[in-house]
Amino acid sequence: MEIQLDFISSDMLAKKGSAEKISFILSRIKKNVIIVLEEALEPREETELIEASMREIDAEDFHGIEFFRMDHRAKSLREKIAEYISGRRHGMTIVGPTRLIEAIKREPEYISMLARIEIPDKEVEKRHTSAQDAEKSTRKMKKKS
């Protein structure tokens, strides 16, 4: 199974209101895409995202989301004023469907994400056979030498 990651620029997000942003995120996630937003979602937007994803949950196809936010904390007064005026929070948010994101480990300095790749049975069989073939040819080569 392939995993698609979409990187969404803050300029694109700035054109959207909160509701439009949430609906955009969910529509991508429901297509099994992990998205990386070039901004930190507001806490209220995060609860809106949870609420909206709860409404979308269905037993067979969609069980919810995993997400995490990394904030860039404004250090200088100028940065703080700029953030306050623009209303834009610098940082990053990654959101994906729970069926793809196995685990997220947050540390104060970094975040580690473990994605789950469900390989179809046929593909597993193919890989297993090619691994066996490779092993056989290695043995043959060793015997010859």
Binding site: E42, R44, T47, I50, R55, A59, H63, G87, I104, R106
Partner: protein, 209 residues
Amino acid sequence: MLSALRNSLRRLMRIFRKKKQIQLGFYGPVNAGKTTLANRISLDWLGREVGTVSEIPHETREVQKIENIVVSTNNGELRMNIVDMPGIATQVDFKSFKAFGMSEEEAKARAREATKGVIEAIKWLDNVDAVLVVLDSTKDPYTQVNVTIIGNLEARGIPMIIVANKIDLPDAQPSAISSAFPQHVVVPISAQTGENLPALYEAIQKHLA
């Protein structure tokens, strides 16, 4: 910007308008012990339990309100209504309930109710005066759900205390919760045994009432 202004106003109003009885919401992730704590407080001061607890996630799927609790502390009386919320989660998979022996239909019904419970709990954020964020001391506190709950309360200007629950368990590390959220008051307790509850009442009186 408007919401920041509204929150500042809300904080100011709170200083001038001290309520005689506070509406105290219990928020936290699933299975952190919110209902066990609500039951413990209710049993101690009203003589009855209010909700069922279970190891199966999402046991509390509806908001439960316990009204007119009067707690005696060293600093006088503490009057409050407790609102015990369903646990906040970002995912609900009915298959996880089947692992506890439920039929597929029961598991699906529980999942449907659980999603409604999460939505209801989020909606209640606009109706509480103060919040106890109940976290499980045996688990990593630095999860996105915990960060989102606490971030929301901060953004809305709702005062909170973080309750580091389950300190009776051998793996408990309440200090990890204090380290993860150093800007907030953290009170370690065991809702199961009642350990350190008087300190929690004092903290509510001091910081939230």
